[in-house]
């Protein structure tokens, strides 16, 4: 297929059936709308393009900055569109919770502004929250900003009315699904698709999924936050159900491993919520039904999100020569020397002092002639073997003598014959009045 611009690739995403062996439903055909296959990687490519395309020529003429309150996929798509048109893009956010997206936005040339946290000395009569102030600044005429305003902009909904919804109906042979399940973020996709499906088939049942109140699932609002979304209208959903972060990851793993769909946690939440809801109606069905959910983006950006919540999924095989594998008695057996003895020992030739502290601290003050190998790096070196001869006399130094004792023990265990640790570390060294130098 040939296109003139990457922007023309947005939309026309595939609708793929989930195998009944995976979802276990008897009377329902479940389809995934793979929005993750949009060119910038998510369902937000559609509204991002639809909210900017008409305003772009004027914005380019004025060199406006595109600005959006987003910490995720909308920001990503807008950053690309802005960069393609030579415009700056600014993303304003409460907190970037997904570090991979943050780095990607910076890589795309976006500017990110994080709003301040809540004040400790609160004044409840102060309604000037940072967000309100930001909105006021953005809504001033001729301010040099193109504010796409995704939570309130009807062009967000339109992108899904004219695109996503029609594609689903067409791919289901013109009849549309009986059940539509969507996560509620800006409410753009769920509301936009749902209104068209309902026009087409008034009996369609629409399930909106929100995040559990104290949980964070990227791209989904919790039950309180949805009320802050201008596009959200509760009357458009037959039910609103909540999903926890752990359930979202469960759903994501099923999509990733069993279905070969590399969707992220939002798609996982949609799958989990879809199957949970459909299971409750499956047995009562007398004829076959069709259901559709949206896989909104890809899994790759959420590695740290998953690592934080399911560290066991990322478990690596234990590496050779690791301090974690030392026994207490091995650590206790490490040779250590006090400051006075260390000073005498250093006097002799062929002695090596390794300072395990960070370079910032080392460059400020250190023991003369010591070598700085920061602990992380030293750790990495030891996985591969001894970084110096087994008989090279060496003194390890850290802040309080705890880490250096562990590494001295590890060196001995690896066959080093002359390793020791400075008891009490640099702190003891300083307290004893021994000299520290700065180069």
């Amino acid at each position: 297929m040939r296109y003139e611009s990457i922007l023309d690739v947005i939309g026309d995403t595939p609708l793929v059936r989930i195998s009944p062996n995976v979802h276990g439903l008897n009377n329902i055909d479940l389809y995934a709308k793979l929005e993750m296959l949009n060119p910038f990687g998510s369902v937000k490519d559609r509204p991002a393009w639809n909210m900017t395309r008409a305003a772009l020529p004027d914005a380019v003429a004025r060199s406006d900055t595109i600005v959006e309150l987003s910490s995720g996929n909308t920001a990503k798509a807008l950053a690309v569109i802005a960069a393609m048109n030579g415009l700056p893009f600014k993303s304003v956010t409460n907190r970037m919770k997904v570090p991979e997206i943050k780095d990607l936005l910076l890589l795309l040339g976006a500017q990110i502004e994080e709003l301040p946290g809540q004040t400790e000395c609160l004044d409840p009569t102060d309604t000037e929250d940072p967000l309100t102030r930001m909105y006021r600044m953005l809504s001033e005429e001729g301010n040099g900003y193109l504010h796409t305003d995704q939570y309130f902009n009807p062009r967000n909904l339109d992108a899904h009315r004219t695109g996503t919804a029609r594609e689903i109906i067409k791919d289901l042979d013109g009849r549309g699904p009986d059940v539509f399940i969507a996560c509620v973020g800006t409410a753009g996709s769920s509301m936009g698709v749902a209104t068209v499906l309902r026009d087409h088939n008034p009996d369609v049942s629409v399930v909106g999924l929100v995040a559990h109140k104290s949980d964070f699932i990227p791209g989904i609002r919790n039950i309180d936050e949805v009320h802050e979304v201008g596009l959200f209208d509760p009357a458009n959903y037959d039910t609103i159900e909540s999903v926890t972060a752990q359930e979202a990851i469960d759903g994501m793993l099923t999509l990733n491993r069993r279905c070969g769909m590399l969707g992220g946690p939002t798609g996982g939440a949609a799958y989990f919520g879809a199957v949970r809801h459909l299971r409750s109606i499956d047995d009562a069905l007398t004829e076959r039904a069709t259901a559709v959910f949206i896989v909104c983006d890809r899994v790759e950006s959420y590695m740290s999100y998953v690592r934080q919540r399911r560290p066991e999924l990322m478990k690596q095989p234990p590496r050779a020569n690791s301090v974690e594998a030392l026994t207490d008695s091995e650590v206790a057996g490490a040779r250590s020397v006090d400051v006075a003895e260390a000073q005498r020992w250093i006097e002799q030739d062929t002695r090596m002092v390794v300072d395990l502290r960070g370079p910032f601290a080392y460059s400020a003050l250190h023991i003369e002639h010591s070598v700085n190998i920061v602990d992380e790096l030293f750790d990495e070196l030891l996985h591969g073997g001894l970084p110096f001869g087994a008989s090279k006399p060496v003194l390890l130094v850290c802040p309080v003598g705890e880490k250096s004792a562990r590494y001295a023990a590890l060196l001995s265990k690896m066959g080093h014959r002359d390793a020791r640790s400075l008891r009490g570390g640099v702190v003891a060294w300083r307290d004893a009045g021994a000299p520290l130098v700065r180069d």
Partner: protein, 491 residues
């Protein structure tokens, strides 16, 4: 943890925000008869402080220091409470005090603090600076101008060399712009060079101990950025030949006020619904605490303290220290330790967590024309300024005659002839309808809520204060200014 047995009869779906109560405050609430007697004698409102608790709270912070092998001092932010008993108890422990006025400094000195354990912060007049310098207190300076004035003062009055810190208030962030509220205290990190120049000219009178920040936020990212900024400022000072030893990260570690996260979540959800009009109001005149409805959409922001807050106090400090510095990319605790810096903290609110409560007598119960139950207390919203600080937490009812009557939702008003003198704008569900002479106990008020704003408006009395002490479930009391640490006997 539940106090009055009646409180348990509230159903789990009721909109309640039960306060966390522990330690001696629980013992005190278990003896309502004694409390009726004391309030009869000393009047309503009445503040109760628990000096021994403050030392226990400090040991929580000490444990975090020890976990990270860090040394440094804890300075109690005096402004959180005026109690003499609390300050005297601190003077008897190893904890320091952070004073922000001449009065607080004199108070600390009279309680037995020596100058070396006092830090002077905030806006300072000449008298305050003189006394601070005279007793050898650490002066945490707000500006270059203050340092210049202090240097001149020390020379003019031939005072000893004064240990000083400089407070920083704004920092440049790498990669992502981390916005913070502008502060009227402190200097921008970029002004450090100019500050060091001034200090360089005054080495004979001012001795730079380190740098400080205090950022009014609960955002860890902002504080991590500030702490890293302080590390860079220390480096600059070392480069100029100074020997600074400590970084002071101020306070603002927060308190968890509520027992149950579910209650907090349910309440805040229902508040949104009430503001949107999808349920009956749960506040006076459907007050929204910053939220408002516009065309069916919730606008504004919920301007309340996160009253249920699992990561608060010492745990918050631990999270901050465990986290990485934004550009040096090592844990902040490791950076402090390996640079051999001491860490100073100035907790206020969190150091007096569970250190006090405020009692108020019910004066009148009436039903308004609109059908609301309005309970007037012999106290006002300045005596109990929980609402001013946007903390949402229910009081505990101590009825003269406990009954099995049904729980009642009431509004609590104060003794000022002012429309807005409401102790709280929330309708509070009490286990039974209060009657004249009952007491309401507002717990955990020692941090800012019991005497920060109290005044003599309308010539109403300001609350008297008592100190309670003891152990093993028994307690005794005395007037606040009659308390000395020898009474507690445990420290």
């Amino acid at each position: 943890m539940t106090i009055a047995p009646v409180a348990q009869e509230l159903s789990s779906s009721d909109l309640v925000l039960r306060p966390l109560v522990s330690g001696m405050l629980l013992d005190v609430l278990r003896a309502p008869i004694a409390l009726f007697g004391i309030t009869n004698a000393l009047g309503s409102p009445l503040n109760v402080v628990v000096p021994q608790q403050i030392v226990k709270n400090a040991s929580g912070y000490r444990a975090v220091f020890a976990k990270h092998h860090l040394t440094g001092e804890i300075f109690f932010a005096h402004k959180a409470n005026r109690s003499t008993a609390l300050i005297r108890e601190l003077a008897g422990s190893g904890i320091g005090v952070d004073v922000a006025s001449l009065g607080e400094l004199q108070h600390a000195l009279a309680a037995g603090f020596t100058g070396g354990r006092i830090m002077a912060t905030g806006p300072k007049d000449t008298d305050f600076l003189w006394l601070a310098a005279r007793v050898g207190a650490l002066v945490n300076a707000d500006s270059r101008e203050e340092l210049a004035a202090l240097a001149a003062l020390v020379r003019r009055h031939r005072l000893p060399v004064v240990p000083v810190m400089i407070r920083l208030c704004a920092f440049d962030s790498p990669g992502v712009t981390v916005l913070s509220r502008p502060s009227r205290f402190g200097v921008h990190a970029r002004e450090m060079t100019a500050v060091l120049e001034l200090l360089d000219k005054n080495r004979d009178v001012l001795d730079l101990q380190g740098v400080a920040y205090h950022i009014d936020t609960n955002g860890l990212a902002e504080k991590a950025l500030a702490l890293e900024g302080c590390l860079h400022a220390m480096r600059e000072a070392v480069g100029r030949g100074f020997r600074p030893t400590a970084i002071d990260i101020g306070g603002g570690f927060g308190v968890n006020y509520l027992q149950d996260r579910g209650e907090w979540e349910r309440y805040t959800s229902e508040l949104s619904n009430a503001v949107l009009g999808t349920r009956p109001p749960i506040t006076w005149q459907n007050y929204g605490y910053g939220l408002r409805a516009e065309a069916g959409t919730l606008r504004g922001g919920l301007g309340v303290y996160p009253s249920h807050r699992p990561v608060a106090g010492a745990r918050y400090l631990d999270e901050l220290l465990t986290g990485d510095a934004p550009s040096l990319r090592r844990p902040l605790a490791t950076l402090l330790l390996e640079n051999l810096y001491d860490l100073h903290i100035e907790p206020g609110r969190s150091l007096v967590d569970q250190c006090g409560l405020t009692l108020a007598r019910v004066e009148e119960v009436r039903t308004t024309h609109a059908g609301h139950t309005l309970v007037r207390l012999a106290a006002n919203s300045r005596d109990i300024s929980i609402e001013d600080h946007a903390v949402l937490m229910d009081p505990v009812l101590l009825p003269v005659r406990p009954s099995a009557a049904a729980p009642t939702g009431v509004f609590l008003s104060g003794n000022l002839c002012l429309e807005d003198d409401l102790i709280t704008r929330r309708r509070v569900l009490l286990p039974q309808e209060p009657a004249q002479g009952d007491l309401l106990a507002f717990v955990n008020t020692a941090g800012y809520f019991m005497d920060f704003a109290a005044d003599h408006a309308l010539m109403q009395p300001i609350a008297r204060k008592i100190a309670v002490f003891g152990g093993d479930g028994t307690w005794d009391w005395c007037l606040d200014d009659q308390y000395w640490p020898v009474k507690g006997g445990t420290t």
